[in-house]
């Protein structure tokens, strides 16, 4: 580990959690591609280009974690809506539990690391 490496590490972590952020955005609701991509793109530091999210959506669909349906739109072309599948829900639940635990531990260490000597 070297100074300045943190940025790199964070970028990798972000890549790792992005699929679950997509799943989380679909919890209990359907969203069409553009809406999903714009929302993720507006989140600070989440993605570089909004176009790079589409390959991820395609993979989640291939993996059966999200499903898609076409729906008519009032304002423009038909829209491809994404929803969470059963498999996707399970993956999201598992991730949420693991993430919460990890986050709490890291938060705790970052805040009180020096007070934890045995």
């Amino acid at each position: 580990m070297v100074a300045g490496d943190a940025t790199n590490q964070i970028a990798q972590m972000r890549r790792g959690v992005l699929p679950y952020c997509v799943l989380a955005m679909l919890r209990g609701t359907e969203r069409y591609g553009f809406e999903l991509v714009r929302a993720l793109g507006s989140m600070h530091g989440m993605v570089t280009g909004e176009g790079t999210i589409y390959p991820l959506l395609a993979r989640l669909r291939r993996q059966g974690l999200v499903g898609t349906t076409w729906q008519e739109s009032d304002t423009g072309p038909p829209r491809r809506y994404y929803r969470l599948t059963k498999t996707g829900e399970i993956a999201l639940t598992e991730f949420t539990a693991a993430w919460t635990q990890l986050r709490d531990s890291v938060d705790d260490l970052l805040a009180n690391g020096d007070e934890r000597r045995p």
């Binding site: 909004e50 959506l57 989640l60």
Partner: protein
């Protein structure tokens, strides 16, 4: 530059960057990006700041085509090699009948064919229409072709010539039947060979969208 030309130029750059992606993935990506542009234009048309600036902003938000393609490569699911089961099934479907026929006669043909069909239906790589195709074209594969060609063609030629002449033509029937049977065999053989190629290609294909793949999400 007009809006349409701006979009066309962007999509051209995307296509060029994506030319090394597998075809299905490339088409899907271009479709997605086209959708995004259409959506942002539809949204822009109803807002006050419609125009080239708005579109430029949308393309900027999309990002550089080569970055998008790099992301697509990162999410690529490698083409699967057909497993031993699939290769055995296709070989038996195509050649199992012939091998069985040579070794054990008609029972051998049925055994070779039967095992091939069972292996194919056991595999999960193929959809049922593909399996049906593999079962029907033709049962016994090339053995069926040999049987079809060897039996009726010689009889037909013999019978056809006997109407014009006498029984003497029937002895010479084997020569024209040979001339007929070679192209006929080749024509018929195309069926099972084409199906075998199709099955092998389909065994490599990406899993169906509905088929969950249990692997890590990160990547």
């Amino acid at each position: 530059m007009t809006d349409d030309r701006l979009v066309a130029a962007y999509l051209r750059r995307l296509r060029r960057a994506a030319r090394k992606l597998p075809r299905a993935q490339r088409q899907e990506l271009i479709e997605h990006i086209t959708e995004y542009i259409a959506e942002s234009r539809a949204a822009g048309a109803s807002s006050a700041e419609a125009g080239p600036a708005e579109l430029r902003n949308a393309l900027e938000r999309l990002g550089e085509p080569r970055d998008i393609v790099a992301a697509a490569r990162g999410h690529q699911v490698p083409a699967r090699r057909p497993g031993g089961l699939e290769i055995a099934a296709v070989l038996l479907l195509l050649l199992g009948g012939v091998a069985g026929l040579i070794l054990l006669g008609i029972p051998g043909l049925l055994i070779g064919l039967g095992i091939g069909v069972v292996l194919m239906w056991v595999s999960r790589r193929w959809s049922w229409p593909d399996k049906l195709l593999g079962t029907l074209v033709f049962p016994g594969g090339l053995a069926a072709v040999l049987l079809i060609v060897s039996l009726p063609v010689s009889a037909q030629v013999c019978g056809g010539s006997s109407t014009s002449g006498g029984a003497t033509d029937c002895t010479g029937g084997s020569v024209p039947s040979l001339w007929l049977s070679i192209p006929l065999t080749l024509a018929l053989a195309i069926g099972p060979i084409a199906v075998a190629i199709r099955l092998l290609t389909r065994a490599r294909r990406l899993p169906d969208p509905g088929e969950p793949v249990v692997t890590g999400l990160a990547g």
